[in-house]
């Protein structure tokens, strides 16, 4: 893969108004731009990140972070780690399920365990915990009831 | 032609049927209580404590490392103390909850005193779910000979190591 730096420049030149930050080898994109950027990353002939390998989230004291690992099967490059940040209270991030189908269950899982609301997801329900469970167990402040 | 594949498959099964009468390879069942497989030397099941001379004097020094490193936290150790309340280098109680233990063998790996090892014993059925599977010190302690019997290779290596240690002159006592 060409360097991340180049990708960032390419992205910003192709999509004016989109700002991205490079951090620890990850591309950090603001949540408002994310869906557009996702479409670009998938369709751009230069990268064609057609394979969304993993979607997950991390709970930091001040923010929630969705982490995406992208690969390109066609170009055999990857991984490109994309981070999208949101606040812990509402925690909304646009869903990329329409772009990569593999996000469907993984976003449900991230919603279930971390409480990231993926807007535009076709069927955002809990997947591993049961319906009606009130908490998001992977958050750092979650304490199991009988502990 | 339709059917030949099926017939081929049936040939395989009937071959296996007859082979089961002639070849050990085709009848691998071991009739368990009467026949037993010998355990592999490295087989690990549940941990036990080793003592050298007497059960009152185990190798364990109650350092609590295994209890801390145990992933499912099934080990509980209480350090013994003498009459004045000064902690002693031996456990007062050493409990392992076999119903929680997951046989990972990490306790054995991290033990700096070679005091805890994984046993070969596997017939551990009990009537009680909780108390009967909570193994206390008395049930956990086994002589070094037992260890030598089940894992001769490791036992020789460790015995040699311990012997080398004791042969070194004891560090001069302070004060």
């Amino acid at each position: 893969m060409k360097s991340l730096e180049e990708l960032k420049q390419n992205l910003e030149s192709k999509m004016p108004g989109v700002t991205s930050v490079l951090e620890e080898g990850c591309l950090v994109i603001s949540k408002n731009d994310w869906l557009e950027v996702a479409k670009f990353l998938k369709s751009s002939p230069l990268y064609s990140f057609d394979y969304l390998s993993s979607v997950t989230g991390v709970d930091y004291p001040d923010r929630l972070e969705a982490v995406y690992h992208l690969y390109s099967i066609e170009k055999k490059i990857g991984p490109l780690t994309v981070k999208v940040r949101t606040d812990r209270q509402k925690g909304e991030i646009p869903s990329v399920t329409p772009v990569w189908r593999s996000a469907e269950f993984q976003e449900r899982e991230a919603f279930d365990l971390l409480g990231i609301h993926f807007t535009g997801h076709p069927d955002l329900r809990r997947i591993l915990m049961w319906e009606g469970f009130a908490f998001h167990p992977l958050r750092k402040d979650y304490v199991a009831e009988n502990d | 032609m339709f059917g030949f594949g099926v017939l081929k498959g049936m040939l395989v099964t009937i071959q296996n049927f007859f082979a089961s009468y002639f070849s050990k390879d085709h009848l691998t069942t071991v009739q368990y209580p009467e026949e037993r497989l010998s355990a592999k030397e490295r087989y690990r099941n549940f941990p036990f404590l080793v003592y050298d001379q007497a059960p009152e004097d185990p190798r364990c020094v109650a350092c609590d490392i295994c209890a801390k490193e145990c992933p499912p936290k099934c080990i509980t150790i209480v350090r013994d103390s003498d009459a004045e309340g000064k902690p002693l280098k031996r456990p007062k109680s050493f409990d392992i909850d076999y119903s929680i233990c997951m046989n990972c063998g990490i306790c054995e790996e991290v033990c700096p005193f070679d005091a805890i090892f994984m046993d070969h014993e596997f017939e551990l059925a009990e009537y009680g779910r909780f108390e009967d599977l909570m193994y206390h010190k008395d049930r956990l302690l086994k002589p070094n000979d037992h260890f030598k019997k089940i894992r001769p290779t490791d036992a020789t290596r460790i015995d040699a190591k311990l012997a080398a240690k004791t042969q070194k002159p004891a560090p001069p006592v302070g004060n």
Binding site: - | F2, V6, V12, T13, I14, N16, S20, H26, T28, T29
Partner: protein, 380 residues
């Protein structure tokens, strides 16, 4: 030896005739036959379960039951005790009456068909002039009870199993009846005894071209009729849990099993009667020959069970309607030709017809048939 059981019965009757009126002797005669069947049926079933478990066990490279008694010979009794002492659960909302009735009623036809099986020379309970028809008629009633059981359970899996069973039985009934027709044509009688007698002296029907096809057809449809692998869709445990007997436990469940195994036995016995010369055979007594032939066929059924996966519903229907049915019809034609011509020519002609039929059906069905595939590797 051959007439061992017949003579036994006879001497009992003569002994009874000394001091009993004639009608009582007839009653005793009936009772002896009925008791013999009523004992033979369930005992056969019990040991068939053991046989199946042992045989399939060996196929699968394991022992099978071997703990209760020598070679597990008491296993069926242990199973029986277990079944009897098991809690009988009727689902809430089920139709209790029908739920109870179905397993009981399903055993009756299974026992009744034993009446027309000629176990040996003079060893048939009733020599009905319509023997084969009687067998076909009674075995078709099983469907109703399977369906009643399925429906009374109030379980969706049961219901699916019931629907499948009806569809399957209706489809397989037709080729089954048609596959017997050639024999009826040749023998000119429905009577099972007459059919066996027509095959005396190694004139087994299976040794004729149409007989070979008829035998395979009859056997396959028979396997389908008793819901055994690969036609065991009504109870397809991998899809619909246990099909129509999902909600049955204890003795009711055992009754379904009893019916199934007794039906397997009677099917095998009837197939050997119709195509394999029944109790005809050299050296050994007749009844032993029939048992040998029937058990051989049952072992083939178990062999199927140990080897084959199950058909899918539509494939099952397709197999019956697109392959078995036309083949059975053409087979009747072959038998007709065989009857019409003299000895050496008729074999040749009917063999040609049968071969042509298979050939045509093979090509007609080819589009639906699975194909072998060639795989390739990714290029570096």
């Amino acid at each position: 030896m051959d007439q061992l059981f017949v003579n036994l019965k006879h001497s009992i009757l003569i002994f009874a005739g000394n001091f009993l009126p004639e009608w009582a002797v007839i009653l005793i005669s009936i009772l002896i036959s009925v008791t013999a069947i009523a004992v033979f049926g369930p005992v056969t079933m019990m040991y068939l379960t053991l046989l199946e478990r042992k045989f399939v066990g060996r196929i699968q490279n394991r022992f099978g039951p071997n703990r209760v008694g020598k070679w597990g010979l008491l296993q069926p009794l242990a199973d029986g005790v277990k079944m009897l002492t098991k809690e009988d659960i009727v689902p809430k909302g089920a139709d209790h009456f029908a739920h109870f009735l179905a397993p009981v009623a399903i055993v009756i036809p299974a026992l009744l068909v034993f009446a027309v099986v000629p176990f040996g020379r003079n060893m048939v309970a009733v020599d009905l002039s319509i023997g084969i028809l009687f067998f076909l008629a009674l075995s078709s009633t099983t469907t109703i009870w399977i369906f009643v059981a399925a429906w009374a359970s109030r379980n969706k899996f049961s219901l699916l199993g019931g629907l499948r069973s009806v569809a399957q039985m209706v489809s397989y009934e037709i080729p089954m009846v048609l596959s017997v027709v050639p024999v009826l044509m040749v023998v000119g009688s429905f009577s099972t005894v007459a059919i066996v007698e027509a095959q005396s002296g190694w004139n087994w029907f299976v040794l004729t071209p149409w007989g070979l096809i008829g035998f395979v057809l009859f056997f396959l449809t028979g396997v389908a009729e008793v819901n055994r692998t690969p036609f065991d869709l009504p109870e397809g445990e991998s899809e619909i849990v246990a099909g129509f007997h999902t909600e049955y436990s204890g003795m009711k469940f055992a009754l379904f099993y009893m019916a199934e195994f007794m039906n397997s036995f009677t099917i095998s016995a009837i197939v050997s009667t119709v195509y394999l010369g029944g109790w005809q055979g050299p050296w050994l007594p007749g009844w032993l020959w029939l048992l040998i032939k029937s058990y051989a066929l049952i072992l083939v059924m178990m062999w199927f069970r140990g080897t084959l996966p199950r058909f899918r519903v539509d494939q099952l229907m397709g197999f019956a309607w697109k392959f078995l049915l036309p083949l059975a019809l053409l087979n009747i034609f072959a038998a007709g030709v065989w009857l019409a011509f003299a000895r050496p020519v008729n074999y040749l002609l009917s063999a040609i017809i049968v071969a042509l039929a298979l050939f045509i059906l093979y090509f007609a069905n080819r589009p639906d048939m699975p194909k072998k595939r060639v795989y390739r590797y990714a290029v570096e």
